[in-house]
Each structure stands twice: as C-alpha cells, then as structure tokens.
Point group: C3
Chain length 346, copies 3
C-alpha cells in the first residue's frame, strides 16, 4: 500500500512543500523514520530531527518556521499530531482490521444469526442461538458459546473464548486468548475437608466500547452478571473474578487481579499487578499505584493509593522513605539506648 | 426451560404454599430476583426481602413464620440453601454442560480411543494413543497431545491445551485456555553467557476431582511428574512450574505462582498473587495471605503467614501497623536525639 | 521405544559393565528410577543411591570406584551428566518434537509459503504473505496472522497466536497459548473522561533462539518494533508491553510484567512476579529478585536489586531484617521516651 505525498495532503487537508509525487509506504516516529516513511513533528523538542531525518515526508504545523533546509517533503497542517493519528487509524484499518467474509472451515450453529459485513475466520466457532450484530469480526479459533450476543462492530480476536450467555455491547474488543464468562472459582467446603463446586449460572455483560486484553480472564457471576461498564479498558493477563462490577471509563493495567464481588467505580485507574481482596468497593476516580494490595473499601472518590496495605499515596511515599533508612534508624535507637544506660558523665 | 412450582416442589421434596401452577424460568439471589425467577431465604438477615421481592417463587424453611403476607408462591423445605444448590446444579447441567456427541470437523487420531457418552466439539484435537474415559467432554479448540489419558467424566474446556503424556483423573475440570504439560523453564547456562534448553521429558499428573483455572499453566516435570493431587482446586492465571507437587484438597487463588520443585501440602489455602520460590516445602493446612512471598519452607502444619518475606500472620499484622507509622517513628527518634544532645536544663 | 544397554553405550561412547543385552525404555532421576529405566550418577552425593536403585542401567564416571556390588548394568563414560543430557535431548526429539507433514484440515493462505520439512497441525492457520523457513513446526490451533515471517527450525506451539507483521528468527520456541504481536494498551484520554484507542501499527521482532512461555503476551509497538533479542528466554504468563526492547540472553521468570517502552539489557535475570514501570532502562547483567517493583532506571551494570521500591540487594535484606523487628523497635522508642520524660532519679 503506497500513497503519494499529494494524496496524503489531500486526505488530511494539508499543503505540500517539496516533491508532491514522492511515494510513502509506512508511518514512523521521527527519530526512527527510514526512507519511504511518513512522520510528523508536533512537539518543538523533536524539531531538531527534522533536519537529519531519513523520512520521505514530514507533517508539520503551518506556523513552523524552518531554521535550516530540509530533505523530506513537508505537508503543512493545522495540527500535525491529530493529522498523524488520523493516518494511523486509516493505516491500521487498511492493513489489520479490514477482514470481511468467511474463511472455511468455520462452525456456525444452525440457530445462530450473524449481521451483515461480518468476518468469521477459519476454525471460528459460533454456538446455538447466538446473535451477532453488523460488522462483527470473529477471528480464527475464537470460541463463542451458546446464546451469546455481540453488538455491532465488536471484534473477537484469535482464540478468544466467550462462554455461554455472555452479552457483549457495540464496538468492544476482546483480544487474543482472553476468556470471558467461564465459571467463577466457587467451592463449598465439605465436612471432610474437600471442596464441592458451587454451580455458576450467571453470565458476563460487557457494555459498549469495552476492551479486554490478551489472555485476560473474566469469570461469570454465580447468579446475575459480572459487569464491565461502558468504555472501560482492561489490559493483558488481568483476572476479573465472579460477581465483580467495574464502572465506566476505568483503565486497568496488566496482571492486576480483582477478587470476587468487588465493585469498582467510574474513571478509576489501576496500574499493573494490583490486587483487590474480595467484596470491597473502590470509589470513582480512584488511582491505585502498581503492585498495590487493596484490603479495604475506598469510599472517598478521587484518592490516590499505594502499597500493601494500600495507603494514601503521600503517606505511602513517606513511609517508603523511612523504610529505606530502617537499618540506620535501628542503629540510632541503639545509640540512644546506650546513652540512656551509660553512667552519668562527670 | 420452564418448570411449574409444583414440579420444583416435587423435585426438592417440598410443599407448595400459593399458586402451584406458576412457571419459573430462572434462578436468582433474592435481592436481585425478577418476575419469573425462583429464589430462596436461608439466612434470617434476608427474610426482609421476602415481603418485597419480585420473584415468582421462594423456597423457605418449613419452620419459617411469616410476619406479613407475601406475593410469591412459597416452597417449604427442610433446608432451603441445600435445596437451592441442588436446583443450581440441575440448572447448570441442563443449560451448560449437557453437550454430547461430535461436532465436525474434529480431529481424532486413528490410534486414540474415546469412551461412551463423550462430547468432542468442533475443531477439538485428540492425538495418537490417547485414552479418554466415559462421558469425557472435550470442548472446541481443545488440544490433547499424544498419549494423554483422561478419566471418566472429566471436562476439557475450549482452547485448553493438554500436552503429551499428561495423565488426568476422573471428574477433573480443565478450564478454557489452560496449558497443562508444556515444557518447564529449564536452561543450562553456557560458558559464553547464553542458555541451552534442558529437555523436559516428564509429564503432568492430575488426580481425581482436580480443577485447573482458565489460562493457568502447569509445566511438565524435567523427569518424572509434576503432580496435583486429589480434589485440589486451582484458579485462573496461576503458574505451576516443573516438578512441583501439590497435595490433596488444596485451594490456590488467581495469579499465584509456584516455582519449580516446590512441595505443597494437603488442605492448604493460598490467596491471590502469592509467590513461592523454588525448592521449598509448605506443610499441610498452611494458609498464605494474598500477595505474600514465601522464601523458606514452612515446616509446621496449620500456620497462617503473610507478607514478603512471609511472617506469621500475627507478626505480619503487627509489623504492618508500625510500618504505617514509620514517618512518625522517625520523628520521635529525632526528638529523642535532640533531647539527648541538648544542654542540660538548669 | 526401547534400546539395549549396548546400543546406549555406543551412542554415548561408553563401556558396558554387566548385562549388555538389558533393555531400557525410559530415563529417570536415580532417587526415583524404576525397573526398565536408565539413570546416572555425576554428583558424589548421589552415589549412595547406586547400591539401592531399581534402575536397569546407570551411567557413571570411568573413574568411579564401587564400594559395594551393584544390581544395575553400568555404562562408564567420561562425563555422566553430559552423556545423560545428550540422551535426554535425543529422547525428547524422538517422542515429542518429531512431527512432520500436514494434518488436515489446516488453513494455509494462497500467498503464504512454507519451507521443506515443516509440520502444520490440524486447525493451524497461516495467513496471507507469510514466509516460514525450513523445518518450522506449527502445532494445532496455532494462529499465524498476515505477513509473518518465521525462521528455520522455529516451533509455534498449540494455540499460540502470532499477529500480523511479526518477525520470528531461527530456532525460536513460542509455547502454547502465547500471544505475540497483539495491539498494545494505548489510549488517548478524551475531554469527557473516556478513552480513544491509539492505533498500534508496529510489530514484534523475536531474534534467533528466543523462547516465549505459555500464555505469555508480547504486544506490538505503536510504531516500529517491540524487540526481544537473541537467546532471551521468557517464562509463562509474562507481560511484555508495547515498544519494549529486551537484550540478548536475558532470562525472565513467570508472571513478571514489563511496562511500555522499557529497555532491558543483555544477560539480565528477572525472577518471578517482578514489575517494571514504563519507560525505564535496566543495565546489562542486572539481577532482579522475585516480586520486586522497579520504579527507576538501573544504570550501573551487574547490580542485584530487590524489593518495592527495588533497593540494592544488600540494603534490601538489611531493611527486611529491621522490618521484622518493627513492633519491638516501636516499643524501644516508647521506653526511651518514657525514660526521657521521667522525673530525674534521686
């Protein structure tokens, strides 16, 4: 896929300076760009690269005044970052996500229905009574169990497993290898010390614009629904246990674990490897630092917490400063004790 | 799937109070139950919901004395919780796990044998010389390598991978995306600083009633067997390294990691995100709190430990209390030092 | 697969003592070896087992002087450990990795090419314009997206997913369920608090002899490449985020997470459940203890660090020693305060 500088300028509403017929085959950061690629300068800090880059084309602000001659062709636009992002999206769609139609063999239960414009990759599986909306993409080896519904424009990536009765909204992304809706980890201890599984008959509901990371697991509820609300983005290898509710537009980084029946608010941010114990609530706009362990509900919105147990960020940072000095502190206490026990100086 | 109140009462040995012909289509918790659903009250704390619930039917104790009139039909039983659990199990079987027969295309090596009553989903793979018992279910995209044996009634979920020579007992569950029996992480450092893989020719043995969580990984032994004994339940995204032995009826929560050659006892409980270093032993009935890091063997049975390094739970909690006060403690030491160095008061 | 003692001796250049016609069917550690198996003694600590083992054959050093009569046949070699490792490799190849040819149904895009000697398992998927070298093995349910190149002798295990444009070198291993090259976790916050995905159009490059663990995730770069350099070995359930670069011959244990844009050096060792915050650098030959959280770049090569925040190993161990004594330390400070405030003794 190649475009001329002129074609790109027209696509982003820009003006060409230099060779309009040059051809571009890829996008790159300016510090890494090679011949044949298009890049941009938005931040003045990166302007220096403009005079040394190998890129064939650079998008720059209309207002930029060149301090030296430049080798690449320029496309002048109002906002180079926005224009570049638009091209990125276009490029990503053209090369990665333009799949349509059916690759055989693919399994579609007789009672399932799929909307227009869909993609079903080879070896994809769609079970009984499923309802898939328009333009849904189901990549190879994806498993969609019985009675699942998936809204318009959602993408189920390679080898993702969506278990029975899951409800997925519009424009969601479930990445490769994610497991959504499998049985929660619920066992009743028996008198002899063994465990008997508690049937998990609930489901998982993902509202619109939710993203579930690669190899992440989201368990179905015991009864009712494990719920991830609109716009929430979950990274790779995250555990979301049964009966959890996660609010809107919350972001959860990789390898975090959310125990059963937690309620997480809207607009929260959890960094990586965080853990929440079961049955707690986290208020809206809470920010939780990496590796923190949250053991109690956070009831006041907008707090930042860190550590295990999770403290207010400021308290945690202050405690960590002293933690590093612990051997010295012990030594100081020992000296005080020696002084206190020493015979009175004359 | 719908039942009348009368049918349910007969199934659980109960007595109907109210409309015996009402129909029920689902099960729910009493605080969330909608019209058409059946629920129960076992705990007196929840009795209040009985007078306001939308549920069509509620199972209650024979001894319960109503304090107000109720809208739902009642089914009186000896033990409402047990009766409800029985219905849950019945419901789960009827709707989720009643798969039988073969969906094509499915791959079955010529030398493999499968017992009566089995299910093999579309795109399931069963390798050479496998032996699968009666009523084994192999969901779509499950991979069963060569020479694997699986006992009666076990379920291998969608996209689980069972590598060569694994032995799985009766009534086990391997959840979606789990990887059992892949090569352990063993490398011999070479003089030039590179690493050469050490062949891993052992296997994994899961005894009866073991449950392996979604996307969990259990590596095969270098030689001999990585062993998970009877009734042990392992949650999602857990790592079990090569040559590990886990005892009977132990429970391991999500994202815990057990390093190579560890020996874990019977009736242990590990919470989430726990880590064990390699080559240690954990005694029977040990309880390990979430996020703990265990660096030494725990030899005395029945202890509770927490933290990193893992301390006795009581010691850990006491240390954490002081940890929170560290900045204050530093300040107090500074004041003592000032007082000690101050000129004698007159 | 059975061999005689004589055949084994010839294969490893050894000399038989005892019955050269005995047959051997497996390999084992000497403390676990059963009749019919071959084992070895290299470490004098294990010599004691030589006189009690059930093994049929034991490889021992030519120089070993027997202190008692032995039951097994012996094969005397220069270096029993090396000879045994050679047999292990031979055994592993013969039983586990000798797959060749194509099992149907398998999906191969019309524009893809595969080298001689390859294996494509049933339900494997190879997309448009892929280039696979000689002797590449693609196990069942593996997904290879468009334009992926895979070098000679590499193995893609069951259900691994390799996304578009990934470049894999020679003699790499990608274990079951690993996800390589899926979109990174990049979102631009919008004025209304929601997030918009930033297209990720880069790729992943694995150089030669790289190993990626089961269910590990390696995200593609936003632009350019996420890079894992030659010989690096990554364990199970590890997260490698977008734009990360990992140097040569580095070893990363299970459940570790490396955040976006980190640069990790050569010959590093990371234990399990380590976390690195984004955009930091880790110098060559750094060793990071289990569960550590690294928040700042480590610029000096060859350091060992531990803890959260990661301190020099020695400092961390000293701080941990005092941490355990915190309740006692608090008590000592309280006593000093009481003494300081007490009325002067007469």
């Amino acid at each position: 896929m190649e475009f001329t500088v002129q074609q790109i300028a027209e696509a982003v509403g820009g003006t060409v300076e230099g060779e309009a017929t040059r051809r571009v085959a890829g996008l790159a950061k300016i510090e890494e760009a090679q011949a044949g690629s298009l890049t941009f300068v938005a931040n003045p800090k990166y302007e220096q690269y403009l005079y040394t880059t190998q890129a064939s084309v650079v998008m720059v602000a209309r207002s930029l005044v060149l301090r030296h001659p430049v080798a690449p062709a320029l496309v002048r636009v109002d906002d180079p970052y926005s224009a570049f992002t638009k091209l990125l999206e276009f490029y990503a769609q053209a090369t990665r996500t333009n799949k349509r139609g059916v690759e055989e063999p693919a399994y579609l239960a007789a009672t399932a229905t799929v909307g227009p414009g869909h993609y079903r990759g080879a070896f994809s599986y769609i079970g009984e009574d499923c309802r898939l909306g328009a333009n849904v993409q189901v990549f190879p080896h994806a498993y969609i169990g019985d009675r699942v519904t998936i809204g318009e424009g959602s993408v189920i990536h390679a080898g993702a497993k969506i278990y029975a009765d899951t409800v997925i909204g519009r424009f969601c992304v479930v990445k490769a290898g994610a497991v959504v809706g499998t049985d929660g980890f619920g066992f009743a201890p028996q008198p002899d010390g063994s465990y008997r599984p508690i049937p998990q008959i609930g489901n998982v509901v993902l509202e619109d614009y939710v993203s579930i990371g690669a190899n992440t697991t989201v368990d179905c509820a015991t009864m009712g629904s494990t719920l991830v609300r609109e716009g929430t983005k979950i990274d790779n290898l995250v555990q979301v246990a049964h009966n959890v509710v996660i609010g809107r537009h919350t972001v959860i980084a990789a390898q975090t674990g959310i125990s059963g029946s937690c309620k997480v608010g809207d607009y929260c941010v959890m960094a990586g490897q965080v853990g929440l114990v079961g049955h707690i609530a986290v208020a809206d706009r809470t920010s939780i630092a990496a590796k923190s362990g949250v053991q109690k509900s956070i009831t006041q919105p907008g707090r930042s917490v860190q550590g295990y147990p999770a403290l207010d960020l400021r308290d945690s940072l202050r405690a960590l400063v002293v933690y590093r000095q612990l051997p010295g502190l012990l030594h100081r206490v020992e000296r005080l004790e020696q002084a206190a026990n020493a015979p009175e100086k004359p």
